[in-house]
């Protein structure tokens, strides 16, 4: 997928003016915190589990080479094949080679963020193979040619009218005057259409929420059951997974799964959590004849041992974006690449380079909510700060920002000058805002005052007030 992350500012400005997007954001925003809080209330051990989740992931990352090798060995023992891929190109080639070898014409797909990262669909299409997204949200996005805007609810930015319009456009074999009285009518139509695709597909591609080292299994988590149909009905199952998905044992996976659904959708557990291990066994009535795992690095191994290693703990639950004021102002597309929200602001620069994602680590109010809800306690704000530092060091931040920071840096090293200047500024602003107590415009701060007023200072700086109160014996 092509990145428009450098245009974050322009993307965000457009998003703020988009009434249909704002309608969807307003509808969804209050739902997430309430759902997660209710699920958390049903599991008093939730906070203790977050520490456990963090520790399991840290332990695995510290021995990632060992667990990957163990996992791969066990995949092969159970009759599956592992394809190691360093780059997105390698992974695309591996998937295509399997599809071509088995003469695939159509491929069904379960929801997978890594497949977005690799742009698998475009690659298959370019070679005459038809990919069909089967997750409801991904299905409508494929029809509309849009990228997902959220890692769990990829199409939540669409309204009902958008669904109806798109379905009328592509399902032309159905009566044009049919009525979608309820949301469920839309869903039933998609279900019927996709059933045909599930049955016709030659290959099914799914992602993986976890890989289990001890058994060589891959795990998918869905509510719809589309992932299960994708991996059960076609002759060949291909799993796309990035290297950091591995965990040592089932017990480790279950502890993380206790966190996943609660953090993601506020469910106690998702509807379908499915463990796949190898291909169809003797006597089985169903299941794929071939089981492949394309395990992808694509920039992750370079994060190991750096200040960004903690990001590899991410279990893609979306809690950070679900609780993010910036995300809910501008939506997911503004972030310009596959991963939006706070986790995207940290991960995207690691995967595609800070020069291509520069603006994202600035898309934050540093309120800290993301870190406080992250089930594996990833210090997202701290890592965004690391990226800002790198951006500054590499002279990637805009000249205005650099000069401003330069002036400020000079001032704070000279406390006497700083105090005089702030005193003057506080006095001046107080005078300016004397009548209303607020300032509706300010030189150099139009961006800030365009959306709100600045409360006028009372005429005294913090330093001055602190010193006065101390003198008066009030502190």
């Amino acid at each position: 997928m092509l990145s428009t992350s450098p245009e974050f500012k322009a993307n965000a400005a457009r998003a703020l003016e988009d009434p249909s997007l704002q309608k969807a954001l307003t509808r969804t925003r209050p739902q997430h915190p309430a759902k997660r809080a209710a699920a958390k209330a049903g599991l008093p051990e939730f906070e203790a589990l977050r520490d456990i989740g963090r520790d399991i992931k840290n332990h695995t990352l510290q021995h990632l080479d060992f667990y990957l090798e163990t996992w791969a060995g066990n995949v092969e023992k159970s009759g599956g094949q592992v394809h190691w891929c360093s780059t997105a190109d390698d992974a695309r080639a591996a998937v295509l080679a399997i599809c071509q070898r088995v003469g695939a014409r159509t491929v069904t797909k379960g929801k997978s963020m890594i497949s977005e990262e690799l742009a698998i669909n475009e690659h298959l299409e370019a070679h005459g193979i038809v990919p069909v997204e089967t997750d409801l949200g991904e299905y409508i996005l494929q029809i509309r040619g849009e990228p997902p805007s959220h890692i769990i609810g990829p199409a939540f930015h669409l309204n009902r009218e958008d669904w109806e319009e798109s379905f009328r456009k592509v399902h032309t074999d159905l009566p044009a005057d049919r009525v979608f009285a309820e949301r469920r009518d839309i869903m039933v139509e998609a279900r019927t259409k996709l059933r045909e695709k599930f049955l016709a597909a030659d290959v099914g591609i799914t992602g993986a929420n976890f890989l289990i080292a001890e058994s060589g299994s891959s795990v998918i988590v869905t509510n719809e059951g589309n992932g299960d149909l994708t991996q059960t009905l076609p002759r060949v199952h291909i799993v796309l997974a990035s290297i950091e998905k591995v965990v040592p044992t089932l017990e480790d996976a279950m502890s993380l799964l206790r966190l996943l659904a609660r953090s993601a959708t506020g469910q106690d557990f998702s509807v379908y959590t499915t463990f796949s291990t190898g291909a169809r066994r003797p006597g089985d009535w169903d299941g794929p004849e071939e089981y492949h795992v394309v395990v992808v690095d694509n920039g992750r191994s370079a994060m190991v041992g750096t200040e960004f290693q903690d990001m590899l703990r991410c279990i893609r639950c979306a809690a950070c974006m679900n609780h993010c004021p910036v995300y809910f102002a501008v939506g997911g597309h503004s972030y310009g690449w596959v991963y939006p929200g706070p986790m995207g602001s940290v991960l995207t620069p690691s995967l595609i380079g800070i020069d291509k994602a520069g603006n994202l680590p600035n898309a934050s109010t540093f309120c800290g909510k993301c870190e406080s809800v992250c089930p594996v306690k990833i210090p997202l704000p701290k890592m965004m700060r690391h990226w800002r530092e790198r951006e500054f060091e590499r002279h990637l931040s805009p000249q205005g920002v650099r000069s401003g920071l330069g002036v400020w840096g000079w001032l704070v090293q000279r406390p006497a000058v700083y105090r005089v200047l702030t005193q003057v500024a506080a006095w001046g602003l107080a005078k300016l805002g004397r009548r209303t107590g607020r300032l509706s415009s300010l030189p150099l701060a139009a961006g800030w005052t365009a959306g709100r007023d600045l409360p006028a200072p009372e005429g005294e700086t913090f330093f001055a007030r602190y010193a006065r109160l101390q003198r008066e014996g009030k502190l």
């Binding site: 023992k77 869903m187 001890e214 059960t232 379908y272 089985d284």
Partner: protein, 231 residues
């Protein structure tokens, strides 16, 4: 080779070569011991408590449930459920001996049963429940020749016959049962496919409003056979 490149890059990041044998040994011991972490209080209790928690959680997740005293009660429970839902009396059923041999289906001659895997046209499928997990009202359904995966997925209505003695508290207890088997292919314990199913299929993709029956079954009904020892 990509494999060596990836492992090499990870090791460079970790500032070491391949793991020294003593450390690898410790990790292998962790795999063999597969220690449990925290067991939540909601998954602990007497068996009777766990059964009622299982029932409550199934219902919370939009599943339905009928309790029958023994396997002889199953045909009646299935027939009555189908009638109440206005569903046809023919269904696909797993070739599990507990279903095919132990249940006296002749008690309800109206029921027409096709044994095997499910087809896309099946409206109703009947599966044998391997375990029920009280913690979240979850069913464990491992694949096997006698328990095809399509039976869990293709029907519009999924019915699962579960013995109450197969209800455990936490997920780990159900895995502990499965860990005892030896697979003829891999030599390991894992079946090809293990589904943990919690309620009927659903989606909130359209305007973030929950609707049941996305791609999998729209209804999940459990016939719970009370074979549990008295608490």
């Amino acid at each position: 080779m990509s494999r060596d490149a990836i492992l090499g890059a990870i090791r460079r990041g970790l500032k070491r070569g391949p793991l020294p044998e003593d450390q690898a040994f410790a990790l292998r011991a962790r795999l063999v011991g597969h220690p449990r972490h925290l067991t939540p209080a909601r998954s602990i209790g007497t068996h009777a408590e766990l059964v009622s928690r299982f029932v409550a959680n199934v219902e919370k997740e939009f599943g339905t449930l009928t309790r029958v005293p023994d396997l002889a009660g199953v045909p009646g429970a299935v027939a009555d459920y189908l009638a109440a839902q206005n569903l046809p009396t023919d269904f696909a059923m797993s070739p599990h001996p507990e279903l095919t041999q132990d249940i006296p289906w002749h008690l309800r001659p109206m029921l027409q049963i096709r044994v095997g895997r499910a087809a896309a046209s099946d409206l109703v499928c009947v599966q044998q429940g391997y375990a029920g997990i009280a913690e979240t009202g979850t069913l464990m359904l491992p694949s096997a020749p006698e328990r095809p995966t399509t039976i869990n997925l293709l029907g519009d209505t999924a019915i699962v016959v579960l013995r109450a003695s197969r209800i455990v508290g936490p997920y780990e207890d159900a895995w502990a049962w499965l860990r005892q088997r030896v697979d003829p292919v891999s030599g390991g314990f894992m079946p090809r496919n293990v589904m943990l199913v919690t309620g009927p299929s659903r989606s909130a993709d359209i305007e973030s409003v929950l609707e049941l029956g996305a791609h999998g079954p729209r209804r999940l009904h459990i016939v719970l056979v009370e074979d549990a020892p008295a608490p």
